[in-house]
C-alpha cells in the first residue's frame, strides 16, 4: 500500500496549532523565575517569588482548603459516576434515558447557570428547614461532585465498552451473586478507569471558580477564587509562581490519568 506523502501544510498547521496551545503556559513558567517586581519583566533568574509564596498564609490556607475539597468532591463523584456509568452501559431499564439526560446537563449547560442553580437549592433548603447547609465545605463538595460525576461516568462508560462482558457472565454462570461479580470481577478491571476519573474530577474541582463563587461565601474562598480576585486587579509575579506549581502538578496528574485510561480522558462526554 502506498503511504500518504507528508504534506508540508499538515506539519506546519500541526506544530503551529500545538505551539498556540503552549505559549501561555511557557510564559507563566518562564516569568515565575524572574527577579523583577512586575510580572512579565525579566530581571535575572531568581527564586524570590517562590519564597514569597511560601510565606503567604492566606494562600497556604486556601491551597489546603482547595486540595481537601477536590479530594472529597472527586471521591463522591467517582462513586456516583461509577454507579451511573455501570448502570448506563450494562443494564437496560426504565429511566435509563432520564439518567443519561440528567447526566448530560452539567456537561452541556454553561457553568454559570449551574452554579446559580446550586445556590438557589441551598437557599431554598435553608429557607424551608432553617438548617445552615449552605455554609462552609458541604455545598462546595456537593456542587463539585455533581460537576465531576458526568466526567467520571463517561470514562467508566468508555472503559466498559472495551471490556468483554463474558468475564462477568462467566462469574455469574459459576453462581456468583451480582454484588460479588461486581466486587471481584468488574471493579478490579475498572480500577485504571476509576483512577483516571478520580484525577479528572479532582482537577475540575481544583480549578473551579464559578460554582465556588456562587456557593461559597467570601469567607470561605478557595484557591481559584483567591487567584481570580487578584488576577482581576492585574498580573503579579506570585501568581506566576502559583500558576507554575498548579500547572506542573495538574499536568503530572493528567498525564498519569491519560496513561491509565488509554486516551479516553478527553473532554467530550
Amino acid at each position: 500500500m502506498r503511504r500518504p506523502r507528508p504534506a508540508y501544510w499538515r506539519i506546519v498547521s500541526l506544530y503551529a496549532g500545538l505551539s498556540f496551545l503552549y505559549v501561555p503556559i511557557v510564559w507563566i513558567v518562564i516569568y515565575s523565575f524572574s527577579g523583577a517586581t512586575t510580572a512579565g519583566v525579566w530581571r535575572g533568574f531568581s527564586l524570590q517569588w517562590y519564597w514569597a509564596l511560601a510565606d503567604n498564609d492566606t494562600l497556604r490556607i486556601a491551597t489546603l482548603r482547595s486540595l481537601l475539597l477536590a479530594a472529597l468532591a472527586a471521591t463522591v463523584a467517582t462513586a456516583l459516576g461509577l454507579a451511573a456509568g455501570h448502570a448506563l452501559s450494562r443494564r437496560r431499564f426504565r429511566g435509563r434515558y432520564v439518567l443519561g439526560g440528567l447526566l448530560a446537563i452539567p456537561l452541556f449547560v454553561p457553568e454559570i447557570l449551574i452554579g446559580f442553580a446550586f445556590l438557589m437549592l441551598f437557599v431554598a433548603i435553608e429557607g424551608l428547614t432553617g438548617l445552615a447547609v449552605g455554609k462552609g465545605l458541604l455545598p462546595l463538595v456537593v456542587g463539585h461532585a455533581t460537576l465531576g460525576m458526568p466526567v467520571v461516568a463517561s470514562v467508566v462508560v468508555a472503559r466498559l465498552a472495551g471490556l468483554d462482558p463474558s468475564y462477568e457472565e462467566a462469574a455469574m454462570d459459576l453462581g456468583a451473586r451480582p454484588l460479588r461479580v461486581f466486587l471481584t470481577v468488574t471493579l478490579p478491571l475498572m480500577a485504571p478507569a476509576l483512577a483516571s476519573g478520580w484525577l479528572l474530577a479532582f482537577t475540575l474541582s481544583f480549578d473551579d471558580v464559578i460554582t465556588s463563587s456562587f456557593v461559597a461565601g467570601p469567607s470561605f474562598a478557595t484557591l481559584p477564587m483567591y487567584i481570580y480576585s487578584s488576577v482581576r486587579v492585574g498580573v503579579s509575579p506570585v501568581i506566576n509562581v502559583l500558576g507554575t506549581l498548579i500547572i506542573g502538578g495538574v499536568a503530572l496528574l493528567v498525564t498519569i490519568a491519560m496513561l491509565g485510561s488509554r486516551g479516553v480522558a478527553d473532554p467530550c462526554p
Binding site: 443494564r91 454559570i112 446550586f118
Partner: protein, 293 residues
C-alpha cells in the same frame, strides 16, 4: 426494559436532587419578586392573614426580553460564540486532520499534547494571556520587532482579545470529536479517489468533507454551547462596554442582588440552548464511536 436497578437509584436520586431540582427552582424564581430581606426574594407562595398569597410576576422575564441592555448582552454573547465556533473550526480542523494522518505512534503523542492544556488550569492559562497581550507584552514586542506595527496596539480589554482567548480555550473541544471522526475515515476510499485521478482538493471536497460532517457538527456544538455562557474570559480580557450573557447574570446576582432578573436571564439562556443541546445529544446517541460516548 426492566425495573430500575438498585445501583442506579443513588446517581439518579443525586441528579434529581442536585441538577433537576435546582434548575426547576431557577425557572420558578424567574417568576418571583425581589424583597428587601435576606435572601432578597419574596416567597413565591405565602400564607398570610388567613389567605394564600402568591408573589408571582412575569415582569422580570419581560424586562429581560425588552430591555436593550439585556438584548445587547445576548447579542454580544451570540456573536462572540459564533465567532469562536467559526475560528475553532478553521484552526481545529487542520490540526485534527494532521494528527489523524500522522503515523500511528506519533498520533498518540500529538493527541495527548493537544488534550493536556485543556485539563491544565483554565484560570491560569487565561491569566497568562493578560500578560501576553499587554501593550508591553510579548505579542506587541514581536509585532514591533517584525515591523508589522510602529507603536503598540491595544489588544487587551477588547472584543478581539476575548475572541482570541475564547478560541484558545475552546479549540480542544473541537479538535477531539473532529479527530475521532477523521481517524476512522476509510483510507482505501481516499486512495481509490486519488487513484481514479481525483486531485487532492477534489477528493477533499467530495469524499473527506462529507464523511467528516458528523465530527464537524459535534465539535461546533461542543464549542458553541459553553461559549455562549462564558463569563470568566470576557471578564478578564474584555472591556466592560461589550458585556455578555454571563456578565449580566453575574452582575444582576452579585452586584444588584436582583435574583429574579438573574433567574430570568438564566431561564431564557437555557431555553435558547435547548435546541443546540438536543441536537448534540441526538448526535452523540447515534454516534457510538468509542471516544464520544
Amino acid at each position: 426494559m426492566n425495573r430500575l436497578p438498585f445501583a442506579a437509584l443513588l446517581p439518579l436520586g443525586w441528579l434529581l436532587a442536585f441538577v433537576a431540582l435546582p434548575v426547576a427552582l431557577v425557572l420558578a424564581l424567574a417568576f418571583g419578586e425581589t424583597a428587601d430581606r435576606i435572601p432578597p426574594i419574596a416567597p413565591l407562595l405565602e400564607f398570610a392573614h388567613g389567605h394564600l398569597v402568591s408573589h408571582l410576576t412575569v415582569a422580570h422575564l419581560a424586562d429581560v426580553v425588552r430591555d436593550p441592555l439585556y438584548r445587547s448582552a445576548f447579542g454580544n454573547a451570540l456573536v462572540n460564540a459564533l465567532g469562536t465556533t467559526a475560528l475553532c473550526l478553521l484552526i481545529g480542523f487542520p490540526v485534527a486532520y494532521a494528527i489523524a494522518l500522522a503515523p500511528e505512534r506519533q498520533r498518540r503523542v500529538y493527541l495527548m499534547l493537544a488534550i493536556l492544556p485543556f485539563w491544565t488550569s483554565f484560570l491560569m492559562r487565561t491569566y497568562a494571556w493578560i500578560g501576553l497581550l499587554r501593550d508591553s507584552g510579548p505579542v506587541n514586542r514581536v509585532l514591533l520587532a517584525l515591523g508589522v506595527v510602529d507603536h503598540p496596539v491595544h489588544i487587551l480589554y477588547s472584543p478581539a482579545a476575548v475572541l482570541l482567548v475564547m478560541v484558545y480555550s475552546y479549540v480542544p473541544f473541537f479538535i477531539l470529536p473532529m479527530y475521532a471522526v477523521l481517524e476512522k475515515l476509510p483510507r482505501d476510499l481516499l486512495e481509490a479517489a486519488s487513484d481514479l485521478g481525483g486531485r487532492p482538493g477534489y477528493v477533499f471536497r467530495t469524499v473527506t468533507l462529507p464523511l467528516s460532517l458528523p465530527g464537524l457538527l459535534a465539535g461546533a456544538l461542543l464549542v458553541f454551547v459553553p461559549a455562549l455562557g462564558e463569563y470568566i474570559i470576557p471578564d478578564l480580557v474584555g472591556n466592560s462596554d461589550t458585556i455578555m450573557l454571563g456578565g449580566v447574570l453575574w452582575s444582576e446576582f452579585f452586584e444588584n442582588r436582583d435574583w429574579p432578573t438573574a433567574a430570568a436571564i438564566a431561564g431564557i439562556a437555557a431555553a435558547l440552548l435547548v435546541v443546540p443541546a438536543l441536537l448534540l445529544r441526538q448526535h452523540l446517541a447515534r454516534d457510538r464511536t468509542g471516544t464520544v460516548t
